[in-house]
């Protein structure tokens, strides 16, 4: 039955956020985490079966938006989301319009909102 769970790659530069996210959704999803954009790229290559990618916006080196912009064309079958403490930035609006990003969630996260978005 474990195999039937969909897989989420969650990217955030704070370890505690990654851990909390795992605890929150461990019953519904299989969670893979990455602490940076670079690590996330490796994880995407390692696990071709990842269904959803959720990334923080503000991260050192490569931010969440640049990360998604770089990898999304390669993984068009996957759904990309953002989760950030910022108000939705202008560039993200455009990415949503283009379909690159499915939805932008704000921190603190709302479990119901995230679940309903992923289930669609």
């Amino acid at each position: 039955m474990v195999e039937s769970k969909k897989i989420i790659l969650y990217v955030d530069d704070e370890q505690i956020n990654l851990r909390v996210f795992q605890l929150m959704f461990k019953n519904q999803f299989h969670i893979i985490t990455a602490l940076s954009a670079a690590e996330a790229v490796e994880k995407l290559e390692e696990h071709p079966s990842i269904n959803f990618v959720i990334s923080d916006y503000r991260m050192p080196e490569i931010n969440g938006f640049e990360f998604i912009r770089n990898v999304q064309p390669t993984y068009k079958e996957k759904n990309f989301f953002m989760l950030s403490g910022f108000d939705q930035p202008e560039e993200v609006n455009k990415a949503i319009e283009l379909g690159m990003i499915k939805k932008y969630f704000t921190k603190p996260m709302n479990k119901v909102e995230i679940l309903s978005a992923l289930e669609n």
Binding site: E14, N17, V20, F21, N27, S84, G85
Partner: protein, 649 residues
């Protein structure tokens, strides 16, 4: 009248003499030259019918000449245009064209033509309205000198005569006489009979005018002899008139009558209006001297008719006096005599009284003068007082303006401090929001996880645990609400989309949202102006501000009260919203801090202290104004004045 006569003479003689000098401009084989000559010729033929047509032909010639860069013909065109404009009475234009011609002739070293132009310019100065006799003299003299140098004595003599006319006009008659004599000698040298006759006639005329009738007669008779020799009837007319005048001066009235009548009949035959006028004038005087009143009167009538055309008003007045005078002459004389006698008697009687009256009058005048001086002094002082009052008023106004400026400055300073505070807060919150949201996020995640754990594992005191979780959730909610509110500070102005809004609708929407917190506590009165039904603003910002204002009004009411919301256009046509409550009001020190972030008078937990600060920031973004008027225990009025974008484009 003599000026007119001179003018005529100059034109007449000038045309006789000066035409010779133009002869060198013989038609050339060049076709363009022929075209120019043709235009000029056409202009010449039109000249007698009025200068306007001639000018247009000359102008065409001028254009052609300037296109073909034919300087000499160009100068000729200029000269012709000068003459035509002179006849049209445009003296300054005439001057301009002759000067142009003069310059070209000078450059081309055509000395005789240059001298001719000098003479013409002199004539303009002499005869025109410009009336600069000294300049006329200068040009005539220059022209004379040039002609004399060239050995062209006839035109030189002519210019001498012209100069003499100027002297005569200046009243320097002896000088005029001397120059006319010099002119005669000049003409004599080349045996130019025409010039000699003219000079003699002019000498005679001048002598007449200075009362030397004997000498005048001698010269005039000589002139007449010469003119008969030349068979020039035109010239005889003025000379005959001069003879008449000389005889009149010598009181030889029959001879005077003979010559003057001859002058008149010759003038009549030749249709010389000016000469007729002249001769008739002389004859009036002669008939008058002869005592032939009716003949004098008839002649005056003739003269009057002539004068009408010449617009000489002096003679016309004289005629009218004559007309009236002839019928009543005797009666008037008798009456005058009687009147004179009566007057003499009366004067003797009255002389004594007169003296008294004069004395009194003098005193009266002195008194009046004194009054005038005093009243003037009073007026001056009154004026000075008025001026002083005016200055004082001005000073007061300036003072007031300064005071206003000062208070404006203070207000601006306060606003600057406020906006600085807001700006730094804005940049601060942008970073802070993210940093706070992250810990909030993992608290939130923790709550979710804990909920699941609690659901899965049956734990004792389940209810208590759920309550603890709920309280944690509330803490997260409130903290995230504050952060969300703060993040509005970091918004840039251009994030605002301005649309046309109905202010009444926006306010009604706000009331709808606030309904649950208002309905048991406040009575809402609205007074919406139809003039505020389409304003340009940002709906979200406006909504946020109005909700805040109404919520604050409601919070100010402790138990029950009224909130009155009105919209109107202010003095500058700015759509304005006023939210008025009859709540507890605010003292001045509170009023001064209401826009400070985190400042609140509400109980802890009841307000974030950000409502009005954020409203203030949003107001700035809307380029609107937000202010409060408040009195403790009476209530508060909040005003929001939007900019009048409809009128400012």
């Amino acid at each position: 009248m003599n000026t007119i006569f001179k003018c005529f003479r100059i034109l007449l003689i000038g045309s006789l003499f000066l035409r010779v000098d133009v002869a060198f401009c013989s038609p050339q084989s060049d076709s363009s030259k022929r075209v120019i000559e043709q235009y000029l010729y056409q202009g010449d033929t039109q000249l007698s019918q009025g200068p306007d047509k001639a000018i247009s032909y000359y102008n065409q010639a001028l254009q052609y000449a300037s296109n073909h860069q034919d300087n000499i013909l160009l100068a000729k065109c200029y000269s012709k245009l000068g003459e035509a404009h002179y006849l049209a009475g445009s003296f300054y234009s005439a001057l301009y064209y002759h000067q142009k011609a003069l310059i070209i002739y000078d450059e081309e070293k055509l000395d005789s033509l240059e001298a001719d132009e000098l003479s013409k310019i002199g004539s303009i100065y002499y005869f025109s309205d410009i009336g600069e006799l000294e300049k006329a003299l200068q040009f005539y003299n220059a022209s004379y000198a040039e002609f004399e140098r060239l050995g062209l004595l006839a035109p030189a003599g002519l210019n001498l005569n012209f100069s003499a006319y100027v002297y005569w006009a200046k009243g320097e008659k002896e000088e005029a006489l001397a120059i006319h004599k010099k002119a005669f000698e000049t003409f004599e040298k080349v045996n130019n009979k025409l010039g000699m006759a003219t000079s003699l006639s002019d000498i005679g005329f001048t002598l007449n005018s200075i009362g030397n009738f004997k000498e005048a007669l001698k010269n005039n008779l000589e002139a007449y002899t010469l003119e008969r020799e030349l068979e020039n009837k035109q010239m005889q007319v003025p000379t005959l008139n001069n003879i008449g005048l000389s005889y009149l001066g010598l009181n030889m009235l029959d001879s005077a009558q003979y010559y003057s009548e001859l002058s008149l009949s010759l003038a009549n035959i030749q249709g010389l209006l000016l000469r007729q006028n002249e001769a008739s004038s002389t004859l009036v005087n002669i008939y008058d001297a002869q005592g032939k009143k009716s003949q004098a009167f008839d002649m005056l009538k003739t003269h009057k008719l002539l004068n009408d055309s010449l617009k000489n008003s002096t003679q016309a007045r004289k005629l009218m006096a004559f007309e009236i005078g002839r019928d009543y002459e005797l009666k008037e004389q008798e009456a005058a005599l009687k009147a004179l006698k009566a007057q003499e008697l009366a004067e003797i009687k009255l002389s004594k009284r007169k003296r008294t009256i004069i004395g009194l009058t003098v005193i009266l005048i002195l008194a009046l003068a004194l009054i005038a001086v005093i009243s003037r002094a009073v007026i001056i002082r009154k004026k000075a007082n008025e001026q002083l009052a005016l200055q004082q008023q001005e000073l007061e106004e300036k003072n007031k303006a300064l005071e206003n400026a000062l208070s404006e400055l203070k207000e601006t300073q306060a606003q600057l401090i406020q906006s600085e505070k807001m700006a730094s807060l804005g940049t601060l919150t942008a970073g802070v929001a993210h940093e706070i949201n992250n810990p909030l996020n993992f608290i939130q995640g923790g709550i979710y996880a804990l909920e699941d754990v609690l659901k899965e594992n049956v734990v004792s005191k389940k209810e208590e645990n759920i309550e603890i979780l709920a309280q944690m959730q509330m803490g997260v909610n409130r903290a995230s609400e504050i952060v969300r509110s703060l993040s509005r500070f970091s918004r840039r102005d251009d994030d605002f989309e301005m649309t046309t809004l109905n202010l009444s609708e926006v306010i009604n929407n706000c009331l709808l949202i606030l309904n649950h917190s208002l309905k048991y506590k406040c009575e809402i009165l609205t007074d919406f102006s139809p003039e505020c039904e389409s304003v340009i603003s940002n709906e979200n910002a406006l909504h946020h501000i109005i909700v805040n204002l109404i919520a604050n009004a409601a919070d100010a009411i402790q138990k029950e009260g009224t909130i009155k919301i009105s919209t109107y256009l202010d003095q500058d046509k700015n759509p304005t919203i006023c939210v008025e409550d009859n709540g507890e009001g605010m003292p001045a020190h509170v009023l001064a801090r209401i826009f400070d972030p985190f400042f609140t008078t509400k109980k802890p937990g009841a307000g974030t202290g950000l409502g009005l600060s954020i409203s203030y920031t949003l107001t700035k973004s809307l380029k609107a104004k937000l202010w409060h008027e408040s009195e403790p225990e009476k209530g508060t009025k909040a005003f929001l004045a939007l900019t009048n974008d409809r009128y400012h484009g």
